[in-house]
Symmetry: C2
Subunit: 385 residues, 2 copies
């Protein structure tokens, strides 16, 4: 069968999740193609790149956090392998993350977060407002307290995307500059894809990894792709005036009167400032309200941000599944896999999802640590192809 | 002498002031060239386009206001002539301007403004907060009061620029896509210009109308061009979602806790929102502080602005003279004229400055109404060429 098809695997989608799947599969010897327009991903091209499962821990999302911790712990080796395969530096920064609280209510929520972190076995350190300012002198005097998560790091998602493209190509993956319009299914299994430029590519397996765009791919029986909703994020890329000290030296996350805001510094002086969370459908408009909200909270937290240049404004669409958890691995259509629904955690989950998908593509099954996220978990009701 | 030169007049600068000078001079039969890189003006390409001498009246600036009123009154005929010569619609809107006050202190300043307007003989109408909201229903409930200036209108400066280019060309003006680097002066009079592409153009008269850039033009005796300082303005161009009502139906200017803010609506649904006034030298960086300040005050005044899309962010440099008034007409170098220093009023002053400059270029003297703004008024101390 293998020799009759163009590829072993076609990945639809060229964001981080599609590319890491392609790279890890190609590394195992599979003949891989990635089909995606060569434009930034809806989410990957915009994401800030926080690798912060400890400071993002949320009650009721413990399983997601455990997957995040596992993926975070793979990052150092992942970055090293990626550098070896691509020659790229991905801007991995390991200074930890400072989470701070602005008022008394925010401080109470921080205390709850620390209880949850303790329950998950995560090491963080409680800090007074003064201790926070000692770490980050530009923080507002009004910051009431915080915690340091020494293992919550960051990476530059745009560099990561470029590195994954190079690494996948290095291992023989074909990067096809076209969008998958339809999956070809016949005799109850996947046969390949139809591209928007009219070409057909044959493959034994197809992975849908196109974020919220995945819902628009045709040719599939109902229910195979659960509903994916875009969760809009507006953020800003700031620039430190040349010759000036960076405004923060590590990722700073804040709760400001209940609203989360973050600043993620890069080595080159860029600071990513975000982000809104809006459920607006497929809407990528930059709005007065979105920009204003982000600037307001950032100013409260780090007043000196006022002096920074706005180098770029960005709008991304995070792909949310019905339960906000990823959809990974085989579907009920033989040969068809999903790798979508990474919501706010796509950058963090990139190493773990890449490994899980490579295993699913070679063995037909997800590894234990990813089984909870099986792509079939919503399809029991209508389980006929 | 006329036959030995390439042109009667070379205008350095392709913003509104340079172009209107060229058009009005060409209309009188002069052979004109405009030398400017074909890029938007530092100020003209960014300006909101308010024609609002009544609502901008300021104690101590009465002469400037009288010039503004005179220029405003020429606008209807100016727009009609420009349309006839260019075929362009310049987005002239005649719904008047609503000036509103946000708190009690702002209201007190509005009362002072009305006293000044009365002294200048300007007709405006005092309004209660409720009357303001009847005119503009999207205004915040907290607006305390206002005034309606029925003759303060607006125009679209980008359309105006395009129309002036077309009209000048129609009358035979040459548009030269290069920057004037140096003025050629010999035997105590102007001879022409040297362009940044190496070309030399000869002319009997040269007009410097390049905004703050004018200070960088070489070849001139000291003091001929008084210091021009750039006054930075940051503003936003917003877009009304299609199918929705415009957020304001006329220019709305507000004082919000002492800070001025304005919204200028266009027929196509664009709303220009501005603007900061910053003395930062030749700095065109968009900053967090600038954008935040404008958004904050606009939200206070018209909360619904939150829903609008940010279509464009702009930074302009207004050219300010030592006394904040324009510098017009002949200098002490025979044949050399200035048309600079229009500061915040360039769009408003365009018709009056155009006529004054055309008269200076044909008769050698400014008309009475512009004589106060003579370009030589700062050069008494060093009056040797």
């Amino acid at each position: 069968m293998r020799t009759t098809t163009d590829f072993d695997v076609i990945v639809a989608g060229g964001g981080l999740i599609g590319l890491v799947t392609a790279w890890r599969a190609a590394r195992l010897g599979l003949r891989v193609a990635v089909a995606a327009p060569h434009t930034p991903g809806e989410a990957s091209g915009v994401a800030a790149g926080m690798l912060t499962p400890a400071t993002e821990a949320t009650f009721g999302e413990e399983a997601l956090m455990r997957f995040g911790l596992l993926s975070r712990d793979r990052y150092p080796e992942f970055v090293a392998e990626l550098r070896a395969d691509s020659g790229h530096d991905v801007g991995y920064r390991t200074e930890g993350t400072l989470q701070v609280a602005f008022d008394t209510d925010d401080l109470a929520r921080l205390t709850e977060l620390m209880e949850l972190q303790a329950r998950l076995g995560i090491q963080t350190r409680r800090l007074t407002g003064r201790e926070c300012r000692r770490l980050e002198p530009m923080l507002a005097p009004s910051v009431r307290g915080g915690l340091l998560a020494p293992d919550d790091h960051s990476v530059d998602p745009r560099r990561l995307t470029a590195a994954l493209r190079a690494a996948a190509e290095r291992h023989g993956a074909a990067l096809v500059d076209a969008r998958v319009e339809e999956v070809a299914v016949s005799a109850e299994r996947v046969r390949g894809v139809l591209l928007d430029d009219g070409r057909r590519l044959e493959a034994d397996q197809v992975v849908l990894a196109a974020g919220t765009w995945t819902s628009r791919i045709g040719g599939l029986p109902e229910g195979v792709v659960p509903p994916l909703r875009p969760v809009k994020g507006q953020l800003l890329r700031l620039r430190t005036p040349s010759g000036e000290e960076p405004i923060v030296t590590r990722t700073v996350r804040g709760l400001v009167r209940g609203t989360p805001v973050y600043l993620v510094p890069r080595v080159d002086g860029e600071v990513v400032l975000g982000a809104t969370q809006e459920e607006m459908g497929h809407d990528t408009r930059l709005t007065v309200g979105g920009v204003w909200e982000v600037l307001r909270d950032a100013r409260e937290l780090v007043p000196g941000v006022t002096e920074l240049e706005i180098a770029e404004t960005c709008v991304g669409l995070r792909p949310g599944s019905p339960d906000n958890e990823p959809l990974l691995g085989p579907t009920r259509v033989p040969g068809l896999h999903l790798a979508v629904g990474h919501f706010r955690h796509g950058v963090l989950f990139t190493p773990a999802t890449g490994d899980a998908m490579a295993e699913a593509l070679t063995t037909g099954e997800l590894p234990d640590y990813a089984r909870r996220f099986a792509a079939t978990r919503f399809s029991h009701a209508s389980a006929t192809v």
